[in-house]
Amino acid sequence: MSQTPRDLLRRHGAPLPRAATVATEVRTEGIIKFATVTAPSHQSGLTFGALHEWRSRLSAASLGELRSFLTKGATRPETLIDNWMKRRELGGLIGVFLETGSGGSVVRVLFAYTKADQSGEEINKAWAELVEKPKSEEKKASAAIRTLRSLMVQGQDFAESGLLALSTIDYDKVVGDRGSMPFQSVDSSKR
């Protein structure tokens, strides 16, 4: 089917004219190599069975804003969040990372959950309380997580996922949970 602008006009009608400059950025696709690897200062040795990740593709301006946010304050935002997670015995914040091989535009935030047998509901409830009803001593951590979240969701392709340490889980039990995986019987028969 021909798709000249004349054909498109005939097929779909003529909208009011619109021509606008597209905001573009020039990014390389080069991989950022690791020179030295240094653990963030807030980290104090975590062992964890589950990770929770936020991933977002940020513009250069947003990335600058995020970095500026992360490096300000006597107690840095990552430390505030990490300390809060430790106090609540949830685990800790591993950190905010720049992904290599993505032109320096993809940021990942990794949270670790270390408390044995804690459920997703418990974790969600704790986060909701921090965000919506922080106690007075939690207000700085609350502001930090809210700002971090706002900066991440303003990027493209924001995604959130959970990662379970495979060696620590009962795989059959996890995939056999019909409450969360209702199509498992169909999926497994097609593998």
Partner: protein, 110 residues
């Protein structure tokens, strides 16, 4: 907006040299790059069509071709005012230039 360009009837319209087009018909847009003023522009289908008519022909010939195509089309962008707005937008973005008409209108029939 179009009223800032009086005297359309005595003008010819031509795409700026070096302008590169990349149609994206599935989204009803055409991307246009202007190397003289490095920038990328998104044109909707009405403005894109008007740009294809800017091959140096006079305004009257552009208007005739636009009317013929628009006759089969509905929508708010099918009138004369829309055509003038599109030309104005294209010129503002450096995609076309407006020249004084030097050829008789009868030379341009499409």
């Amino acid at each position: 907006m179009a009223s800032t360009l009086p005297g359309f009837r005595r003008t010819c319209w031509k795409a700026e040299p070096g302008v590169r087009l990349r149609p994206v018909p599935e989204q009803g847009v055409c991307l246009a790059y202007t190397p003289a003023r490095p920038a990328l522009h998104a044109l909707n289908v009405t403005t894109w069509f008007v740009l294809t008519l800017c091959d140096g022909r006079p305004y009257a010939a552009i208007a005739r071709a636009f009317r013929r195509a628009a006759a089969d089309s509905l929508g708010p962008g099918s009138g004369t005012e829309a055509l003038r707005t599109a030309l104005h937008q294209l010129r503002e973005l450096g995609l076309v230039r407006c020249l004084p008409s030097v050829r008789p209108l009868s030379e341009h029939t499409t």
